[in-house]
């Protein structure tokens, strides 16, 4: 398989993830879209690493740290979602607009 095939899959995953962040009106969907975007970035990193043998495992190491940060981000974001629900009684991002006024 050529490199472009993997890049195309990653691009499609990124587009779907960004659309999910932008157009679903539920904070949990925003989280799932973020995970999709991070997965697309990881796929790009690993694909470029495979097609560039002189870099040994550098791309995979970067992807590994992205996974670590994604785990931390998911824990914090879920805590924020639960807190926002108990405070605003809603998890629609459109309705949480206190700072707009």
């Amino acid at each position: 398989m050529p490199l472009e095939a993997y890049l195309a899959v990653a691009a499609v995953l990124f587009v779907i993830g960004l659309t999910m962040v932008a157009s679903r009106r539920n904070l949990v969907y925003v989280l799932m879209g973020l995970e999709l975007i991070l997965n697309a970035a990881n796929l790009n990193l690993v694909a470029f690493n495979r097609f560039h043998p002189e870099s040994h495992v550098d791309g995979q190491m970067t992807a590994l740290f992205v996974i670590i940060l994604a785990a931390a981000e998911a824990a914090i974001a879920l805590a924020i979602v639960l807190n926002a629900y108990s405070h605003f009684e809603t998890i629609r991002p459109d309705d949480i607009d206190t700072m707009k006024d």
Binding site: M1, P2, L3, E4, A5, Y6, V9, A11, V12, L13, F14, V15, I16, L18, T19, M20, A22, S23, R24, R25, N26, L27, V28, Y29, L31, M32, E35, L36, N39, N42, L43, V46, A47, N49, R50, F51, P53, V57, Q60, M61, A63, L64, F65, I67, I68, A70, A71, A72, E73, A74, A75, I76, L78, A79, V81, L82, Y85, S86, I91, R92
Partner: protein, 175 residues
């Protein structure tokens, strides 16, 4: 031939499940189809010779982050009228149009289709190399140690943010 078939299988699994996750009305089915996407990406990692990363993806994403998301679903209410196909198609058109424009811009700059993965040297097992890189002082030792600090901070911060405040206020008022 086997490489093409497995690529189509994994890529189709990840993209199809991602589309199902984007368009489905039920949050629970969306979360479980995200599992299919994560497993498909893990398969693509395996095809790219990243065996350790594929197993990490299955363990941490499918085993950890997805369970966190499911807990988030259980503790927040459902929102039945939330899914609006028009809004999703509009977002898909805008974001996808931007991506296509960017790819057309890139297509003129880069050389495409020059390297096939079959012509590269065969992938070696990466577990021992990743372990050595993580503990070598002039490569990834500092980020590795910082990652443990970040995970601890995230853990404590999540507990601090999500704790209940009003119970303490009530007990303080009584006493």
């Amino acid at each position: 031939m086997a490489a093409l078939l497995s690529f189509i299988l994994f890529a189709g699994l990840s993209i199809g499940c991602a589309l199902l996750c984007l368009f489905h009305r039920s949050v629970v089915i969306s979360a479980f189809s995200l599992l299919g996407t994560l497993l498909g990406v893990a398969g693509l990692f395996l095809m790219l010779g990243a065996d350790f990363l594929a197993m990490t993806q299955v363990l941490i994403y499918a085993g950890g982050i997805l369970v966190l998301i499911l807990f988030g679903l259980m503790l927040t209410p459902g929102d039945p009228g939330e899914m609006q196909p028009l809004r999703i198609f509009g977002g898909l058109a805008i974001v996808g149009g931007g991506a296509v424009l960017f790819l057309m811009k890139m297509a003129g700059v880069a050389e495409w289709g020059s390297v096939e993965v079959e012509n590269l040297p065969a992938p070696q097992p990466t577990v021992d190399e990743i372990g050595l890189e993580l503990l070598r002082r002039d490569s990834y030792l500092l980020p590795f140690e910082l990652a443990s600090v970040i995970l601890l901070a995230a853990l404590v911060g999540a507990v601090f943010i999500a704790r209940r405040r009003f119970e303490y206020v009530d007990e303080g008022g009584k006493a």
